[in-house]
Symmetry: C2
Subunit: 390 residues, 2 copies
């Protein structure tokens, strides 16, 4: 029977991620016995540390698995605030910290507490597609701020002014960025913040990849002032993807509104994940997470060199996250076609750049370096064979 | 330092739940050593069954705690579809089932895939306040459909027609309902569905309290046709509140759009909770959940009789959920004032009806009967003393 009513236009206009068809095909190939190298998914591959397995097993038996407060367990809010003190020398009021279901929940709170219907919000192109789609779903007017491969996809304050419009109320940017790995340095962030404030807007910085930086200074936009909204996640640096936990540091004066939104949009973040997060933020595992960061840095270097030798184009070695955003070698035009053929012939899965941006992104791939060194080397061998065979 | 920009008007207009101030005060009293009886929170108080503790402990050690597919683990989608077959005799395609972060996630998908900006959506008054607030946050035009205490807060098809307007695209109702406990029976649901369809709209039914019905038939609006959207949760019947897991059964043809929304709004539901849900839906615990239902029924009867004797007004004994929605005895006007004084003097926490609706709801309380029998009896003793003392 046909559905009498079609789905909402706004929602149907959200393009599916191309990578989903890549993923599906990769699974089908694996089911046929092919050895697929996964470089398409933004997920660290490290096992859950034994201390966190144990923390989860203890909490599920000993703690209440009922609702926590909407803003999260007070001890966890405090632990997050304390982390800003210890790592970044900032005094953040725990009342500004809301624990959320993933970084996604924090983005919903940030966008929802800043934007009214038809308010403009600036997002980067390329950028994390959920940013713009989530903004569309709260009824905002999404405007894109084009970044340039030649500038290594870096944003500066002048671009913000050039693309600001009368109805724009916020700039949402990620640093370190997905898909480019670009990091906005401390000085640039201060200039961007000053510009946004002067234009009468709110700066929202998605710091989901915070901590995953390799040569540059690890910092936070919260240092710019108490009027910044910062989104973060336990998924990347801490590798807790499936636990779905993140946090928002709300601008001063916004925490009450954000908490009411939390009560209404999702009631509370998952309880057991909060107990696991408390253990993850403790001192015992600090060394383990730093060891992982060093591994990721080595993998980035390995893959960057290999791809460069194969003729892929990158203006600079990206400073953070765990992706390379690499232009196809000359004469290879379309990233999606390249990704599909590469998967069929060499069983290497990568993400087409068109999932993240327009224009030049058609000829770019996002390649995650989360797999082990040996797998990355094998991927380079397969890529070389693929490029030569054509 | 003052924040230069105020928060969004839309978000600041969301009223805080009055019960939050009750809860906060209740905790302060407990910290002073008072013995507070909690009848304000919509949370079953049963312990996590040992089989689920064990399922969680096993899964965290043995399964990947990475992202699952956005629509949830295939085995869980299948288990939910199978449940509709076994319990309600319906053949539901698992492709229509999306596992979500709580019933809240399912509501977001349903509203997001049906409503465009400024589309109208009808919600009941009284009703679950997150329904209207969530609709506001996707930019919908929320219209209320007043229910009547004299009809035991039941909705019928004629009311739907009377309040439909040209821009209205959906009716969102809950059955069993929070706060009233009212259940829309099978025939009424069919009539409501036919009316909504004839008016060119989509029927969205929140069945979060499904299974918690006491004399009437346990049913689902999915039986009305494949164009219905149904929201459900593991929080109430299964008592898994803090795990934050629910599901949407999307209308035929909507699953693809709903899945794209899921990818963008929250990426995926929490992983460990999905393994626990698989165990909760299995045959081993079916008897335990039915035993709990019988306990709740007895508690409802106990509290209904006690409140009636004290002069509280209810048109009928509610058929489902775990709340009584009771008018204050004559000469007690304001529910919020009553709730505050009752808490101070007798340490009994209840929710003012004004959290759920307008008009007559000011003089009503929502009282949860999730506490043990002895606690409910003690609450009645305290209420009697409170009413006499004044």
């Amino acid at each position: 029977m046909a559905t009498p009513m079609p789905a909402a236009r706004r929602a149907t206009r959200i393009e599916p991620f191309q990578v989903m068809s890549i993923l599906e095909r990769a699974k089908a190939l694996e089911a046929q016995g092919r050895d697929v190298i996964h470089m398409e998914v933004g997920e660290p591959r490290f096992p859950l540390p034994a201390a966190l397995v144990e923390a989860a097993r203890r909490a599920v038996a000993e703690e209440s698995m009922g609702y926590t407060p909407s803003a999260g367990l007070p001890a966890l809010r405090q632990a997050i605030a304390t982390r800003y003190g210890e790592r970044y020398g900032l005094d953040i009021d725990p009342a500004r910290v809301l624990v959320t279901p993933g970084g996604s929940g924090a983005l919903q709170l940030a966008l929802g507490s800043v934007l009214d219907i038809s308010d403009g919000v600036l997002v980067t192109d390329p950028g994390y597609p959920c940013h713009r789609h989530m903004a569309v779903m709260v009824g905002a007017d999404v405007r894109t701020l084009p970044l340039d491969a030649g500038d290594a996809w870096r944003l500066d304050a002048a671009q913000v002014s050039a693309h600001w419009g009368e109805s724009v109320r916020a700039l949402l940017l990620a640093s370190p960025a997905n898909p480019t790995g670009a990091v906005v340095d401390v000085d640039s962030m201060r200039r961007i913040h000053a510009r946004v404030r002067a234009l009468g807007g709110v700066l929202i910085v998605d710091e989901t990849y915070q901590g995953l930086v390799y040569e540059v200074e690890d910092h936070t936009a919260l240092a710019c002032g108490s009027d910044v909204a910062v989104v973060n996640s336990l998924s990347k640096y801490f590798g807790l993807t499936g636990w779905r936990l993140g946090w928002l540091v709300a601008p001063e004066g916004y925490a009450g509104v954000a908490e009411r939104l939390a009560q209404n949009l999702y009631l509370a973040p998952p309880t057991l994940a909060q107990h696991v997060a408390l253990a993850a933020l403790g001192p015992e595992l600090a060394g383990e997470f730093e060891r992982r960061r060093a591994l990721l840095r080595r993998r980035r270097d390995l893959l960057f060199q290999g791809l460069t030798e194969l003729g892929f184009g990158m203006a600079a070695k990206p400073d953070g996250a765990f992706y390379l955003f690499a232009s196809l070698p000359p004469r290879w035009g379309d990233g999606l076609r390249f990704a599909r053929e590469l998967l069929e012939r060499e069983a290497v899965a990568v993400t087409p750049g068109s999932d993240f941006g327009s224009g030049a992104c058609q000829g770019i791939l996002r390649i995650a370096y989360t797999a082990e060194d040996a797998r990355l080397r094998e991927a380079l061998v397969r890529l070389r064979r693929f490029l030569r065979a054509d």
